[in-house]
Amino acid sequence: MLPAFQSFHQTMKVILPDQGVRVMEQGQGTVGDLLHEIGINPLEVIVSRNGKLVPEQAAIGGNDEIRIIRIAHGG
């Protein structure tokens, strides 16, 4: 018999520009909030949510996989 209460453990996976991975629990907010929190200027990166490109105002959370890709290179 199934238990009456089932807990859903949700973790958001954030792949950083250096390929480092951060797992964030109970994360709810926007792409812009996340970039602000980790100190990345949104003009220097593009961000995908579950493989699709999203703007800074897009909501993130739950089991999303967020990839932050640095775009500015070269001298």
Binding site: S48, P55, E56, Q57, I69
Partner: protein, 311 residues
Amino acid sequence: MEQRAAREESPACACCGEPAVVYQLVTRRHLCGTHLVLDVEERVRATIQETGQISPGDRIAVGLSGGKDSTALLVILSRLLPAWPGASLVAITVDEGIAGYRADTMRAAERLTEWLGVEHRIVSFRELIGDDLDALLLGRETQACTICGILRKKALADAARAAGATAIATGHNLDDEAQSVLMNAFRGDLPRLVRTTGTGTSTAFLPRIKPLMAIPEKEIASYLFVQDLFSVLPECPYTKYALRAEVRTLLSDYECRHPGTMQHLIESKRTIEKYCAGTPVMEPLHRCRECGDPCSGDLCQVCRLRHSLLE
């Protein structure tokens, strides 16, 4: 980083209501992938048209590093070119000889030109000056970007002339242009600030055109990403020595807090250019006594560099 927008599940495109992929800071519009591609290509077409960068019959040599800006430039020009009857493209890649960096971008350049069906020529520093950049820079790494810039410009110009080009197109975007204005102001270099080798200037140089100069860097990356054309490539190992890297950080921080800053810098440059029109800001053109290339002094920068490398 203080521009904190309201949370939206998935902002809608201002043109069609589909999920947006990008937010344009200055126009305050969200755009979906389809409308971003249309918008970018239309703005590039308008830039070319307004500044007379391409004419029917032109042969445009595109400097193709294989990085995102030159990739976007070649893709866009190959789509827009039918608007100029008889115009053609040739892509030129300069292999500077940078270990662990150039091989990936060279392969990307080869794949792209093959896909687009554009003629591709590769030239190297080894052919131009006898050695790879890595070897030339031993003990002078802090001058990397200056030395590389001088040689790359020469290699590209020579290859463009050999390919019968009438103009050289480079992938400089809005961010690059704004950074250059600020760097020249920091250096107090007025001649370089107003110098332009674009359409309508000296016949000693092949005109250099910058069709992406109105497009922010982030929109170029997004343009490629939504078409599966964006590749994560290695960073040049000499970037850490570049003044541009510092200026980029400073300027993108300002742009984020005060949208339009980059555009205002470029407009300031145009105003200064207008005031300087007809005044002798630049030294008169001479011919290099060793190679005959046009230059402002007795020796061109490449020949001066060749001498200094022999010392």
